[in-house]
Amino acid sequence: MERALHWMVERDRIEARGRSDETARLRGKPVAEQPVEMSEKLVDVGGVGVVTLEGGSGRPLLMLHDELGFPGWMGWNTSLSGEHRFVVPLQPGFGRTPRVDWFKSVRDVAAFYARMVRESGLARVDVIGFSMGGWIAAEMAASDPEMFERVVLVAPLGIRPAEGEILDFLAMTMRRHVMATVSNQGAEEVKALYGGGVSAEQYELFEAARAEASRLAWEPYMHDRTLPYRLGGLQGPETLIVWGDRDQVVPRGCAEAYAEAIPGARLEVIAGAGHRPEIEEPGRFLEIVGALLKAPAAKSFASAN
């Protein structure tokens, strides 16, 4: 069982992110120290089946991946898996889950996932979202503040910064886009994922991911002017914004705008990390995120009011 599941994790990493020499060398010795049993299931959301990975045990944690797709099970997942059961939907249109024809905006995806959370009986759940996944989580929270207990937005897209611009990664070749997401290229997991070449299969998956990202947020580019106002009404969930100070994709102003828009939100800056602090500076990332997520979920919506 463990072997088969292990293979799946490995396969996901290889298919989604690049089978480098480094990765090949690490086969059988996954980046995650302790292999965690994972399952894959098809969750029906109003007639749309979404491929969903689950791993770990404890309080459920909804993880929304970024615009390049789920990278595979990483060390930080393992570290949190003793107290959290990860629920990782693979976003429609990103290769594994077929595209949903009517999706044309990030709000559409948020509505879809909100229905998934409600109908799966997950609420009030904790959520961690990366980049576009962070934006989706913010949209879900804005539309239903009672959906989440704790919200972690890692380098979220979605708000236009006062200064600078969100990187136009759709005007880049995919390889350059992928590499622009990481600044600390010496980090172990970064090397494992991106140290080698890109196979034809990986081109296909990255193309699918980037195309779906384009469908959702080509114009206005990766932001929604109405979001700050809507987030202003977000009372309840404890919210943490995480941003790496070497992020080349999302300028500091995006993270600050989120922290400003969401009442009570806290911004944590991770020095030396780019757009992917969870693999670039996993120690510091876990310290910050773990502190929030591992704390007893004492603060219910009722008591917060």
Binding site: A171, R175, R210, A211, E212, W218
Partner: protein, 444 residues
């Protein structure tokens, strides 16, 4: 057979080295634009189309690109409108309107109907998705490109044929009052031709809609493969494809002497030509092609699409130092020779060009042939002399040859009107023996 003149309307006066150094035509900084030069060029190209009519061409063709000096026809319908009035006989062949870039198919339906009316029924419309840079320039979502193209196309045909007023609620377009007053002169709709560059998806779409297909260059054999693919799809529908279903484009320059033609003809690949049109990230935006097509591109060694190869997809990351100017020029010179050998470029005296073009039409049997003029800084005198020599000394010979080869065009025989009997196999649409013989003779 129909013979058409076309030019991309290049902006003249650019230094070739600067285009090379910029890395592509698209997004070349417009600080270099001189309105006097622009005015002279636009008018010169309108005059060329008029000259083409005078010397015997059957059609003048226009295409559209945005944001670059490679092709100044940013709004081809404006030029077509001028030609509708300034010419009297030639067909005005648009290859074509990039529907997704326009983002307003009702406006497009109105513009084209006006051109057809002013020209009294000489419009041939072509429909294209637009190249990658067109999507960036017009901020048209590349990942919805095919959906925008197909929905926009079907809407335009409806706008021309379905009595209004009516209301339209689609996926990408919505109109509460569709009732264009000016409808096309030609009924039920103006004829069309679908240009493509070695893309099966485009050929398939043309077949599905019953449109002729125009191959925008490429060597003989890959074009023949696509034409056979088209003919097979037609056969599956019980139809025999013929020359009326096909057009073909060659880059062409004619002069009095071979040496002079060869020298000036180099401008066909000015600053690298098509291959230097845009950078990889603009040519293949995410979602513009299917993920499977990207996988193919990344798989096929030496594969490529409009100058984009697996290597170019990676170059910005892998820090491959782009080639030196001297190396780029060497490659361009090699392309110039190779593309002449495989008949993508046809340059020479009227006699030399006639002989080569006879081979082209014998091999591919198109009903329409398009002569693409050089790019670069070729003078009005040289450009106009080439047009005259083509009209006066090449076209008469080719017309006789086309008659001998029975190359019917889309106006002589409606594409799709040639039905097959049940169980009857289709006839050949290309001459494979002639292609093999030619390639063999050239050592290709």
């Amino acid at each position: 057979m129909q013979f058409n003149y076309i030019t991309e309307r290049p902006y003249r006066g650019l230094a070739e080295d600067q285009v090379y150094e910029h890395g592509s035509y698209f997004s070349y900084p417009n600080a270099a634009f001189d309105p006097e030069q622009g005015a002279a060029d636009y008018n010169a190209y309108i005059d060329e189309a008029i000259l083409a009519e005078q010397v015997g061409f059957d059609g003048v063709a226009l295409n559209e690109h945005h944001g670059n000096p490679f092709c100044m026809g940013a709004v081809l319908n404006i030029e077509a409108a001028v030609l509708a009035r300034a010419t009297e006989r030639v067909r005005i062949v648009l290859i074509g309107n990039p529907i997704p870039a326009h983002r307003n198919p009702l406006r497009l339906a109105e513009e084209l109907a006006m051109i057809d009316l002013i020209s009294k029924g000489r419009l041939v419309t072509g429909w294209v998705r637009g190249s990658g840079p067109e999507q960036f320039f017009n901020n048209s979502n590349p990942a919805f490109n095919r959906e925008l193209f197909e929905e926009g196309h079907d809407f335009i045909i409806d706008a021309w044929t379905r009595p209004g007023p009516w209301r339209y609620e689609g996926k990408h377009f919505n109109y509460r009052h569709v009732n264009p007053w000016a409808l096309p002169y030609q009924k039920p709709v103006p004829p069309a031709i679908i240009p493509g560059y070695l893309s099966r998806e485009t050929v398939q779409w043309a077949v599905d809609k019953g449109y002729p297909y125009l191959g925008l260059g490429g060597p003989l054999a890959p074009n023949a493969d696509l034409m056979d693919f088209y003919a097979d799809q037609f056969e599956a529908r019980g139809l025999q494809a013929g020359p009326e279903n096909f057009g073909h484009v060659v880059f062409c320059y004619v002069d009095e002497t071979s040496a002079r033609a060869q020298e000036i003809g180099r401008a066909i690949l000015f600053a690298g030509g098509n291959a230097n049109f845009a950078k990889a990230q603009h040519t293949l935006p995410a979602g513009y092609n299917s993920p499977a097509a990207i996988k193919r591109l990344a798989t096929v060694p030496q594969g490529g699409w409009l100058g984009v190869t697996k290597e170019r997809l990676e170059e910005e990351y892998v820090d491959v130092k782009t080639d030196t100017l001297a190396e780029k020029k060497r490659q361009t010179e090699a392309s110039y020779q190779r593309m002449q050998e495989n008949l993508q470029i046809v340059v020479g005296t009227p006699e030399e060009v006639t002989a080569k073009l006879k081979t082209v039409i014998t091999c591919l049997r198109p009903g329409m042939l398009f002569f693409m003029a050089p790019f670069g800084n070729v003078s009005d005198d040289d450009r106009r002399r080439s047009i005259r020599l083509l009209g006066e000394r090449v076209l008469p010979e080719l017309r006789a040859e086309a008659d001998r080869l029975e190359l019917t065009d889309m106006f002589q025989r409606q594409p799709g009107s040639n039905k097959l009997e049940p169980g009857q196999a289709r006839k050949c649409v290309v001459d494979r023996d002639a292609i093999a013989a030619y390639n063999c003779s050239m050592g290709l």
